[in-house]
């Protein structure tokens, strides 16, 4: 069985401050890991993914996440957030069944 834990349901952070959104997973097999972002009244947009290779993956808008197999984590980080980063962020895992299993989400609020 697989599961995804996002420990923080809400993360408030001041503009231009760094942020880390935590994600831990459990799976008995190799996994593929994803971060999705959801803006109000919109669908899910892929932010970044880890399939294989380098354990550090980056998005085009400054986010990065590192796959840590020993700690079963895939935390999302950004060194300096903008107001436009305010959204809900979902961590998801795919362990071979070709469907995604999502965490409960973290609401990031950037404070001016």
């Amino acid at each position: 069985a697989q599961s995804v834990t996002q420990l923080d349901s809400q993360v408030p952070v001041f503009e231009e401050a760094p942020v880390e959104l935590r994600c831990n997973y459990s799976s008995s097999v190799s996994v593929y890991l994803f971060w999705y972002v959801q803006y109000p009244n919109q669908g899910l947009q892929l932010l970044l993914k880890y399939l294989s290779g380098s354990t550090l993956v980056e998005s085009i808008n400054g986010f990065e996440a590192e796959f840590n197999k020993s700690q079963t984590s895939f935390h999302l980080r950004k060194p300096s957030v903008h107001i436009s980063d305010t959204a809900e962020y979902f961590c998801a895992v795919n362990s071979g069944a070709n469907n995604l299993f999502f965490g409960t989400g973290t609401r990031l609020t950037v404070i001016p």
Binding site: V4, Y32, F34, Y36, N41, Q42, G43, L44, Q45, L46, K49, L51, F90, A92, N94, A97, N98, N99, L100, F101, F102, G103, T104, G105
Partner: protein, 112 residues
Amino acid sequence: EAGVAQSPRYKIIEKRQSVAFWCNPISGHATLYWYQQILGQGPKLLIQFQNNGVVDDSQLPKDRFSAERLKGVDSTLKIQPAKLEDSAVYLCASSFGDREYTFGSGTRLTVV
């Protein structure tokens, strides 16, 4: 390329009524998914199709929910009769097998 299209965007019905949602995936994407996202939770897979065959419907409440994907393209998800706890956003997604899932904007269902 065009994204995943869903309609309607919003729907309000009374409990015990029936409702149907429509999804048109990205052209060429063999796999189609329906997810249910209850407010404050992560999306939960309801059903997965590969072309016009069902791969996984273990989480679909089959006493009231049904889905079909005729001809392996468009899909409809139906709820009959609806309950208050069915209030949620219903997301459709499609993939080509490269673990790149594209989500539609969703249908927000309110059951009163």
